[in-house]
Symmetry: D2
Subunit: 336 residues, 4 copies
């Protein structure tokens, strides 16, 4: 951490700061110039609050050099995290495709889609039971019944299931769910993150629409700090001025997050674009860029889907897309 | 609602859509041009899901004309909502200043600040007990004890108190709290919003960092739809590319939200700017623009505040600011 | 175009509007509801100013249905534009890689890089002669001498050259340049765009950092409306809150712009990310998503480049990348 | 400037860097920790290119401590710049209101508005002659004739005039114009900025829609570095995800720019909001926040304005607004 002092700092306040830093086991190396003095802080500064130091009258500016996350930091965990869900491995060079409808709507629907997803190569079934909707008047999901139907589809196909949890109080209902999804709007619901840190289930953590890579990794840190090591990072678009797409898919997050962290990164092209016609090319791009997988909305009858129909692709389109993804995944991994 | 059809739409699908709309009590007025056909939908479209219609093969585009919120909509509630907290009235032309520390830290601290706030003219005491922090290693607030101390400060000064609730499960602890604050990161925590809709306490709803006016009003709608009529909208900065300030304070929300809605609007210049030196001018600007009030961080010793010190002003600065605000409030309201 | 009227519009103003629209050869189809009246305008509305109508007292809102650009619009030009530069074809399914240094620095440097680029498969040489720099104190390019050296490199290798023009007054200097590049900061320099519309040289038009797809297509329209049909659209990152990358690369622009327009789309992963380590994965992603090509910064000695060193890759890295791009281009185009 | 080295840097490269810095008259103070080494650079680093150093293999990260602008920097110019236009003083505590139509449309129009503006208290007449329009099909201004009419209005009223210059080649036409306006889309048209640096006329420099405070000050630096000391900074809204307003007016720029720089700051509430109904409250807010002035669109007949009608206010509304602004300016400046 670097502390830039104002010109002619009050000596007493400065001594106070130096003593306090010493007490935190931080070494201080000052650089004194004619116009300014810079303090270089060496040691474990991840638990030091930048705000505390910034607030001092004598301080002009504080800049972090070290990342404020540890458990999610590749510097301390150089090897890729590989998450096991049954026989499946997520991360470490594999391609995992999660697919299914936005919402579970009926037994017939979810089992039908699950079978199609599996046949094409999909590894995990997704489907919303509890749905976060911006409007209180929109369909809120089948809730407990939705989870029951997902479990039926799991039984019928052997596919593990991934579904969204909206609140820590729902945890008991998710006992047989394989992957707990945290939605973008809940990425900084710290009560929920703490509760998930205490479980031992993989968590698919979606990036919030206004959250930086560091914010995302700090939210992952909440879960990891609780003792749960299985966090999958998921980009689903950030909010920008462009309105043609629902959000702006930030694929540079793939190499960036993989540099900063050891956690797997998967991409959601469906929510990011909001338009089914854009999903295949963005899915291909994500795999070419090195994503560990995808989460894609597939619906047997998009125009009659209870939500997010415009971004769902049909099982036929998914089948074709999967073959394309496979070809690109091989081309991107070939020895050169 | 306007539905723009693709060229040469499939007649069968079109008939299906027309029948379905009719079943929802929506009148359809088609406009047939050489290159495109537009359907004008007349009736209560607030509960019609745009996505459902957009997903149809025959549809090019759907545009909402009517806002998707009703209870929060000024069109249906032309008079300003005035929220009563004891003798206090929030909204309708008054200026309500909520002030206090980011976090409650001790009995002495909170009572001391409360007295100073009251003396200067502040109407409500704020103070964080449960603190949403981006880092799991940062101070998380005094929690239950923090609420106990806020209540002591209320007893000592008579000031109503406003503090943040992070999770529906905490509601029983907030029984004696006067105003429940929902933080920006929880603005779309729909489980929490639904729970607050069932209470009868005023809710201070902060705008999420990537949320539009409409998103904010839809979140208010969740609370209002539950039967709780007392929602205060709060702008606290949105996230943009500018990094000099913590966030970008969007003061145009004041006249905009007041046009769209009847709910009171208050401004948080402390979180928006993240810099105490910018707080007074932004507070003055908000009042000049017609805000119903402010929520300002005041701390007796900002450099030693347990969080958000850099954005807190001292009680002395608050006292001076309050007098300035009062002068501007009068100048902005004068007969001309 | 859709005009939504306020409740109970003044009849005289309404008649005035209807007469004016008629004079513009626009048919008006009204939809009268209990709460509002909607006018559907049918005809060529691309030259009608939305602002003019929005300003009327009787108008609540105006929504465009038809795009305001014609020459750049795929609806009127269904076939892909293919731009010929010598024997080279840009667009229509080919992959064109433009590469070279940010700035031309010496004859030896530019010829050396040009040879390496050509050997690896690059089709066009890029190199800055006139450099737009945010600081007046930064290196501003070799200017005329830079163009002379680019022409030498063209002579030595046969590669066509692409370099940035900053001002219409520079046009005479660009007589032998093959592709004129317009930088992101000049995307809405309308004087320059008009001048380029009068030339018959291909223009590489970079998207401004705060410009939507529609803005980009409107700037292309300026050039096309002048009679120059050869515009290449180029995405180089938009500005968002994320600061880890220099900008946010918006790859969804590829399928989006190709839906909206017939013009070729190429991607600049170097300026978008600002980090050489992120360039290869973003280049692969762009090709997998269907881009017509790339523009990549290659420098023989990035640490001593006169500008943008951190985002330049070495000729060796470019060589390896080109082979990967080729493999992905084939995988993305394979029959499935 | 702070240079953070990677772990175990190559000693030879490091020595090369140290020698190079020495040659630039930069003192280097290293801070060696167990996990990283930090170099504190002391001296005039404003002309050192961050990119050059970032590109070195041994460097992890470079952080600027000192601002990269000098002439625009309050640290080196502590007193407010006051710009004189005839008897008028802009900056230093005064309130200067520039007003007039978006476009000059006729002699009668511009003289009529000029008289009304002057009567209400406006100090400078604005009016567009050369109009930057996103559509090539929109009205592009009366051009030279527009300037001639502005000069007639100046003659008739004595008001100085302010109008936009789009290109350096237009300079001779602006000989009698008092203030040269640079539009947001041209803020980084460096050819134009350099040309304006050579004039001795005040320049009103509008902030680009995706430009930070630092970018704006760097563009001002271009003009100042050329020897022209009279730059007025103007905020007119930045581009964000919010679409209700045309742009997001960032009023925190007022105290921020005044901290960073000595140049006057004026606010354009008309372009920022795009809605005349929002203009008065945003104008009041700007003055309350300490802006040195405003630039406001006033049109005698907004519904028939040739451009930007929806954001123009009538002379009657301007007259009322001016009185309100005056009251707020006094309240904001009162002794307390």
């Amino acid at each position: 951490m670097i502390v830039i002092l104002k010109q002619n700092p009050d000596q007493e306040q400065l001594n106070g700061l130096l003593r306090w830093l010493e007490a935190q086991n931080i070494e201080v190396h000052p650089t004194v110039g004619t116009h300014q003095t810079i303090l270089g802080l060496i040691g474990d500064t991840s638990e030091i609050d930048v705000d505390l130091i910034s607030a001092l009258d004598i301080v002009d500016n504080v800049k972090r050099v070290q990342e404020p996350y540890k458990n999610a930091n590749r510097k301390f965990h150089p090897d890729d995290t590989v998450i096991r869900v049954g026989d499946l491995e997520i991360g470490g060079g594999t391609m995992t495709v999660i697919a299914g409808p936005c919402s579970v709507e009926s037994e017939e629907q979810i089992i039908g889609i699950a079978k199609a997803v599996k046949k094409s190569g999909g590894a995990i079934l997704r489907g919303g039971a509890f749905k976060p909707r911006t409007s209180p008047y929109a369909f809120q999901g089948m809730q407990i019944e939705g989870i029951r139907l997902l479990l039926k589809a799991k039984e019928a196909t052997g596919l593990p299931i991934c579904t969204e949890i909206m609140d820590a109080s729902q945890l008991p209902l998710f006992e047989d769910v394989d992957i707990l999804q945290v939605g973008a709007r809940n990425m900084q619901n710290f009560s929920l993150l703490k509760a998930l840190g205490k479980t031992r289930k993989p968590v698919l953590l979606k990036r919030g629409m206004a959250c930086s890579y560091q914010d995302l990794l700090m939210s992952a840190e909440y879960i990891l700090a609780g003792g749960n090591t299985d966090v999958i990072l998921c980009e689903r678009g950030i909010r920008t001025f462009e309105t043609y797409t629902r959000n702006t898919l930030d694929l540079a997050c793939i190499p960036s997050l993989k540099t900063l962290s050891h956690l797997p990164v998967i991409i959601d092209p469906s929510h990011a674009t909001g338009k089914s016609a854009l999903v295949p090319s963005m899915a291909c791009a994500a795999i070419a860029a090195g994503a560990d997988g995808l989460i894609i909305e597939v619906h047997n009858d998009p125009p009659h889907a209870k939500c997010d129909g415009p971004q769902s692709i049909t099982p036929e389109a998914f089948d074709k897309l999967y073959r394309r993804l496979d070809a690109i995944h091989r081309a991107a991994g070939e020895e050169i």
